[in-house]
């Protein structure tokens, strides 16, 4: 391990006294950012498989609530006895589905994978600032993943109070079985996760600030790096607050303090808690919870910025506006948390303030969407699978984002709060969009990660079925939300009024099963291509960024010789020379960042 840290201190150290890494050093306790990225990706994908499988069980239950399915008994054991799903396990599934997808797949799986892979490669660094902390960050994430999954094997079941784990429900085992040991495991898992996330984020920030190669000014950074960098900052600002909330909740649960609890009578006795408030917990939780949405989304937007520019063979439109939007979103994301609490009982005046800040976020988000569309305009679109997912992201980001205008308005939120309207909104805008970003990134950087290409035709099938399915699930879902259908209901048959929504629920479930099945194409393609994919060339997508100047075969320190210098920004696609007669480099429509300014070229003002 110490060997791997050396090259960072000295660019040339790797040329001397280098020993072959052992299997453990290379694949398990690796400090190489490229290997850690792969570890994050594969762990994230496995967690994604678990998380999506849970949602399939929920969709099965919601579509046919009073029927029994043997699959419940197989997968849920005594919570699915005789093929009937227990109401408590339904709540547990929705809780752990949310937790896994938000934290484990879309935070660690997305940001962890691509920040690790791309930050050193795209800024021209030999590795992360601290390879050891980076390794520690992954292994903490791994431990945390194991803990959260293991909570399913606890007798009373895993945490079941919703992924937001609001007390008192999450604090009192008397209120729901999952709030016993299952909830303790949830808190431990999230605490370990926060430690992992902070180590990772600090590392990303330091690396971007200090290890950029010569010529790589902040205004020449690819937008991916800007996105990862700002994401890391939001993480460092907001995750500690969740830790505080979790810690106080742990104290209430285990040591009889009353931070969040007061005046409770449950199961025939008055509890001694006095003076706490659940609303305080909600504030603390959403102080992380809302920035978390952008922690999930910004890396996806960064990835697509890069992919859309490369595959459009055009510079990203409004590079500086894109950076400004990222910064504006980052700032605003920390002052809007209250829009999750319009009807929590907090002062209505606060609601007004949060409505104002929330709707402000639509402005930078709109700018980003418009800039993507203008980037497509008059391009020469190379419709690779990564590009399809990126365009798909812009589409779902707009569809999902627009309904945010309704939910962010405190008045309108009153009637759709906690209904399926919300579920549809956030699944489109952060779930599906971020997953598209993840897929786009995997298809695009697979050659860099594994030295082989993924099969494009399987990629096309994967995209189109997913695209149809995702809209098929979530567009009709807005309407059952408008009917007042509440979320986190085990079944709706107790309300005859909802009977006419049953068909729509079946429709949504059918789309969900098809969409989930389509992911098998991806899984097969991913695994098969790692071993048998076509060998990749060095720069398959004809891209400008520095990662494509490294050899296909991974080496410690990334570049065999000196680190390339940077002379330009990363978006000189289809740039013409002064006389507009020929590309800057004749016959080649891209100019990599390490190519000096040519004689016949007009330099962009920075």
């Amino acid at each position: 391990m110490s060997v791997a840290a050396q090259p960072l201190a000295n660019d040339h150290a790797h040329e001397e006294g280098h020993h072959e890494p052992t299997f453990i050093e290379k694949y398990i306790f690796s400090t190489d950012h490229k290997m850690i990225a792969k570890q994050y990706l594969i762990t994230g994908l496995i967690m994604g498989f678990i998380g999506i499988s849970m949602s399939m069980l929920m969709r099965l239950q919601l579509a046919w609530p009073n029927e029994s399915f043997w699959i419940y008994e197989v997968l849920l054991g005594r919570f699915g006895e005789d093929g009937v799903m227990d109401p408590s396990i339904y709540l547990a599934l929705s809780t752990i589905h949310g937790t896994i997808m938000v934290f484990y797949v879309l935070t660690a799986g997305l940001s962890g994978t691509f920040s690790n892979l791309l930050i050193p490669l795209q800024i021209g660094a030999r590795d992360m600032a601290s390879g050891f902390l980076n390794m520690l960050s992954y292994w903490l994430f791994f431990i945390s993943s194991v803990i959260i999954v293991s909570s399913f094997f606890v007798e009373a079941g895993p945490a079941s109070a919703g992924w937001t784990v609001y007390p008192p429900l999450s604090a009192l085992p008397q209120a729901i079985g999952g709030s016993g040991l299952g909830m303790t495991l949830w808190l431990v898992a999230i605490t370990v996760f926060i430690a992992s996330s902070l180590l990772g984020s600090l590392n990303y920030i330091v690396t971007v600030l200090n290890l950029r190669t010569e010529g790589m000014s902040m205004t020449r950074l690819p937008l991916t790096i800007w996105a990862f960098f700002v994401t890391a900052i939001i993480g460092v600002v907001s995750f500690p607050v969740l830790l505080a909330a979790g810690l106080l909740l742990l104290m209430d649960r285990s040591f009889g303090t009353s931070f969040f609890l007061s005046d409770i009578y449950i199961q025939g006795e008055v509890l001694s808690y006095q003076g706490g408030s659940p609303v305080l917990y909600e504030h603390l939780f959403w102080f992380l919870g809302h920035p978390e949405v952008y922690i999930v989304l910004l890396p996806a937007l960064g990835i697509t910025s890069e992919i859309i520019a490369t595959n459009s063979r055009k510079p990203i439109f409004g590079y500086r506006a894109m950076i400004a939007s990222i910064l504006a979103i980052a700032f605003l994301s920390t002052v809007v948390w209250g829009h999750h609490m319009f009807v929590s009982g907090m002062n209505p005046f606060l609601g007004s303030v949060f409505t104002f800040t929330t709707l402000l976020i639509a402005i930078p988000s709109g700018v980003k969407a418009f800039n993507y569309i203008t980037t497509l305009w008059k391009g020469n679109l190379q419709l690779n699978p990564a590009m399809l997912f990126s365009i798909g992201l812009v589409s779902t980001f707009v569809t999902g984002g627009l309904t945010g205008i309704i939910l962010g308005d405190s008045t309108l939120d009153i009637n759709v709060h906690d209904t399926y309207f919300v579920i549809a909104h956030f699944h489109l805008v952060m779930g599906i969009s971020a997953l598209y970003g993840l897929f786009a990134g995997v298809y695009h950087w697979f050659p860099k990660m594994f030295g082989r290409m993924m099969n494009k035709n399987l990629g096309y099938i994967h995209f189109w079925i997913t695209a149809i399915g995702a809209y098929g699930i979530f567009f009709p879902m807005h309407f059952i939300g408008m009917a007042g259908l509440p979320r986190r209901y085990y079944k709706f048959t107790e309300f005859p009024y909802f009977d006419d929504l049953a068909n729509t629920n079946i429709l949504i479930s059918v789309f969900a099963f098809i969409t989930a099945a389509a992911q098998i194409f991806f899984v097969y393609n991913f695994i098969h291509s790692i071993f048998y994919g076509k060998k990749a060339e060095q720069n398959p997508w004809k891209s400008n960024t520095l990662e494509w100047t490294t050899p296909v075969k991974h080496i410690h320190g990334n570049w065999p010789g000196e680190i390339p210098k940077v002379y330009r920004w990363s978006y000189d696609y289809s740039k013409m020379n002064k006389d507009e007669t020929e590309y800057v480099i004749p016959g080649q429509d891209f100019v990599p960042q390490n190519v000096p300014i040519q004689e016949e070229e007009e330099e962009m003002t920075e």
Partner: protein, 348 residues
């Protein structure tokens, strides 16, 4: 209709997969280049599929609005008119933007699909354009925010007058109770620490205001009279959601939250409204085919309800209370028949 749609979707998907696999096979021998990078042919095909996709997306949106927007029930409170107007303006606006933007995304994906010999336009910046699409959302959103905030302060800041009926809604796992203030018009003091035996809501028996309080399992409201709800929870968070009255407020243990509205449509009126007659007929047809229901259950009659909308435990999905909106006389008659807290405790 839905079943048909499912069949169509399944069939279309089947055809898609079949066609794509055919294309895949056909393209193998001709295309010696298996670099796994999009070729000219791929760009043509995928561009066209984008065009087909926008047709699907528009179709889905039209279907949803056509078939599913009927789920949005008419409002039955004084502020619901204002609420619905803001809702439909916002919905109209976002659908307008949605239709245009989605068209642009997919049309550009088709129109500018890669072609041999095509040169992309090097177009990096345009301050004027950036300014335009910053300022238009700013103005539209400012208008929406201001409109929304006026409605918000009107709905949330309920003035208590002599006419206002104050009702406590009390939540516990997994049911609701309503408490009326009785003749003195003041709710008696209450705390979970007073809960004992028959005194399920924890009223302070030594507080004289509590003696004439009336505790009920149904919520009866006189029409056209402002009601101010005071919410109290005994155990965990609940949320009192009155969908037909466009009202919702969390019920938080340890504090009292409040929300007010004025019901404007009686239960009888809404039951006989065109919307509800149609809907209930449809529901009863569905229920008739449900073998799990006995004949009594198969005949559903609409009643307003209050439901729990914040996860509160295993039976969260069945925590409801019937609401009856009736004329002032009917209400007075009903309330006079109810037992007061004083009478309740005296009995035991």
């Amino acid at each position: 209709m839905t079943a048909l749609l499912i069949i169509i979707v399944a069939a279309l998907l089947g055809i898609t997969i079949w066609q794509i696999s055919k294309i895949f096979k056909l393209s193998q021998p001709v295309e010696s280049d298996d670099s796994q990078i999009a070729t000219n042919e791929d760009n043509q095909k995928q561009g066209k599929i984008f065009l087909a996709f926008i047709v699907f997306l528009y179709g889905l949106m039209i279907y949803s609005f056509w078939e599913l927007s009927k789920f949005y029930a008419p409002g039955a409170s004084a502020h619901s008119e204002d609420y619905d107007q803001l809702f439909f303006i916002s919905l109209g606006l976002i659908m307008f933007v949605q239709v245009i933007i989605q068209f642009l995304i997919h049309w550009f994906a088709y129109k500018y699909r890669g072609q041999k010999g095509r040169k992309a336009l090097f177009y990096a910046d345009n301050d004027k354009l950036e300014f335009i699409w910053t300022i238009i959302p700013v103005i539209t959103l400012a208008a929406l925010i201001i409109y929304g905030l006026f409605s918000w302060s009107e709905i949330m800041n309920v003035e208590e007058t002599d006419e206002t009926l104050v009702v406590e809604i009390y939540a516990y796992q997994f049911d609701w109770r309503a408490r009326y203030s009785g003749e003195d018009g003041t709710l008696g003091e209450a705390n979970v620490r007073f809960i004992e035996g028959i005194n399920q809501l924890g009223l302070n028996e030594s507080d004289s205001y509590a003696q004439d309080d009336i505790i009920t399992t149904e919520l009866h409201l006189p029409v056209d009279r402002p009601v101010l709800f005071k919410f109290r929870s005994q155990d965990v968070l609940h949320s009192a959601y009155f969908p037909f009255f466009r009202s919702q407020m969390n019920v938080v243990p340890g504090m009292t939250t409040q929300f007010g509205f004025t019901p404007t449509t009686t239960s009888k009126e809404i039951r006989n409204s065109e919307y509800m007659v149609e809907k209930v007929k449809n529901i009863n047809e569905i229920r008739k085919n449900n073998e799990n229901l006995d004949s009594d259950e198969q005949n559903y009659e609409f009643e307003y309800y209050l439901l729990c909308n914040k996860i509160c435990g295993v039976s969260h999905y069945n925590m409801q209370m019937k609401i009856v909106v009736e004329s002032e006389e009917e209400y007075q008659k009903w309330i006079s028949e109810q037992q007061t807290f004083g009478e309740l405790t005296a009995q035991n």
